[in-house]
Amino acid sequence: MLPLAAITPQQREEAARERRAIDASCRVPVLYFCVSAVFWLLIGSALAFIASVKLHSPYFLTGSPELTFGRVRMAHLQAVGLGWSALSLMAASIWLMCRLSRVELIYPRLVVFGGTLWNIGMILDVVGILRGDGLSIEWLDAPRYVPPFFIAGLGIVSAWTVATFRRRREPHVYVSQWYILAAMFWLPWLYTVAVTMIVWLPAVGVVQPVVNWWFGHNYLGLWMTPVALASAYYLIPKIIGRPVHSYYLSIIGFWSLALFYSWAGMHHLIGGPVPAWLVTASTVGSMMMFIPVIAVAINHHMTMLGSFHRLKYSPALRFTVFGSITYTAVSFQGSIEALRDFSEVAHFTHYTVAHAHLGAYGFFTMIMFGLMYYMIPRLTGREWASSGLIRLHFWCSAIGITIYFVALSIGGWWQGRMLNNPNTGFDRIITYLLPYLALRSVAGVLMTVGHLAFATLLTANLLGWGQRRLGGPTYFAEPTRNIPPIAPPREA
């Protein structure tokens, strides 16, 4: 055990100065990515609201081709899936990689250029889809002139993340870095293969949906999930000031995720015109996901143990822990859902939609919010302007996703049961679903209010309306003084 005396005050001061220099070096690109991401989140929320209302009130905004359900549905997925998710997790990757490698970001303008390419791609993507160029390939709806922008932008950001890693001064490679490195390596491969085999040089017939689901599922599993986990692995121990519970569990969690998550996806083709063994392979891949999920759950829970009172104060921690707990829940659900008997009912229904949103929102988005609450004040030198707005954001998002998930899971399950019985006419299924679809709109409004609160906070912070970072961070509540001395509540 290292004696306390091994670290001198000078060394600690040196470390703090180093952190400050690192934050200063990635301030511009990371803030640029965050702002872009939040912009696409707002666009995506608006599109989601339109699409959701259209499902229960089909006369809403009818009459213009741009806002017909199918196009809005595609544009929504692109805006939140490729806009918000990709840009926010790129911001997270750059910042976490710089901090954990203990190097400053060099040539930050190059990363900004990469992000700009991605943003141009996104604008062409969403506008193109609304104008009628969408391809109707789930997750790859982008018009065929868009992928080059994405590949170039992604290439730059990936390469720069890896370059930052190679310049590292810290000899120990922390678990967050594994996840980020792997994700930055996987996605360019995944995306290029998928676009080539489906859009540019289309493979024959049903190979396309096979590649499509391989991409769609791995976009979540090998791109969004690793970076969100990296963020949780960083923030939880960082904020509460304790080491991560077990290095061994980290290793098991990482490698089993890499091996098994990449095999999931084909269970979405259950009953479809594909060889049975494909579905079987993915079912097994999904079930094996219990291993990494259990490992990560134990690791995060045991790290948090004894520090749960911190959730009362720290916004970053509260969002992150909410996301972590949801990760465990949604992954368990996903594994069970892949089983054939279950999937035969849940497939082709809103149940799957509820599950997808629990993963992409309840897990991924909440963790990204948490990271942004932690990261942005360090980059701008300003605290958040209002703890009330943060509270509003958290509760709107948390309650919103809960209503969303519960409503669509119940509605979707019975929808599946009814679809399986040919004596139930479509009129009865649709009529049955209407209240659940309306609840989804309510949930969507709640989440959008949360996003608006966050956007307001971010704008205020960038415009310098917040308090300078002199005293403590913006907490939900003022911490009480009788907190265990070993972990003082100083972190936002």
Partner: protein
Amino acid sequence: MSEPRKDAIPESDVPTPGGGDSVQALHGPLMHAMNDPAMSFTGEEDDDGPGTGTPGHADSVQAMHDVFMREHAEPRDGFEPVPFWVAVVCGGLLMWGGFYIGTNSRDFRRDVYDRSDLSVPEARPADIKEPDPQTVTDLMKIGAQVYGSRCVSCHGPEGKGGQGVPPLAGSEWVAGAEAGVARQTRIVLYGVQGEITVNGLKFNANMPAWGTLRDYELASVLTYIRNSWSNSMDADDGKPGVPTAAVTAARSKEGLKRSPLTEAELKAIPIDQSDAAPPAKK
């Protein structure tokens, strides 16, 4: 990948495994080692609030520096062992996975699309009884359900038809000059294609074949159509005009014929043709 640069600043506090077995015994000293002095220095707590900085002090480098000093050191790994039950669960899952792939992959063939552990019997066993409606009332009850799930989207809830789809209510083919049981059974079994004249109006909508439904369902839906809205073809409750046997007989006659009928082909079937042998046979 390159090795880390050698000019790395302070050899940091990488913890090593060992020490006590309890979480706390491991964490206690570690956390002290990780935390910046600002964190454990209790006397400094007064800084933790707004408005404590002196005016002008806010812009100074020192002020920013303090803020960064406030932060914990970068996270480190702990080295708790993996619980035994996790190993058991992993082992169990791997065994299940191997078994599942072995039994459900159908030799990785490209032309087998279904699961092999199918618990559904291939043929419906003899002891499973289908409903066997005998009276018009019973047939109507099942027929309403079938109509509601299959026919209503084109012919409408009132049997009025529309958009190229002929009406059923008051139709001559249902309850009029062209109404024949043999024709009606074939319409639902094989569908209709091409132009057809109903009540003096021409319609041109292809009607799909419903041969996938069971015989009693087709008989029921026909009885329902024949006796709903303004139609009433079966006055005697005990003697339905289209018993299940009539559909069974019609189906067995044409065998594998599947193409939909045209109006001419329908008219070629005599109105009073009866496919069913007297009910006594069934």
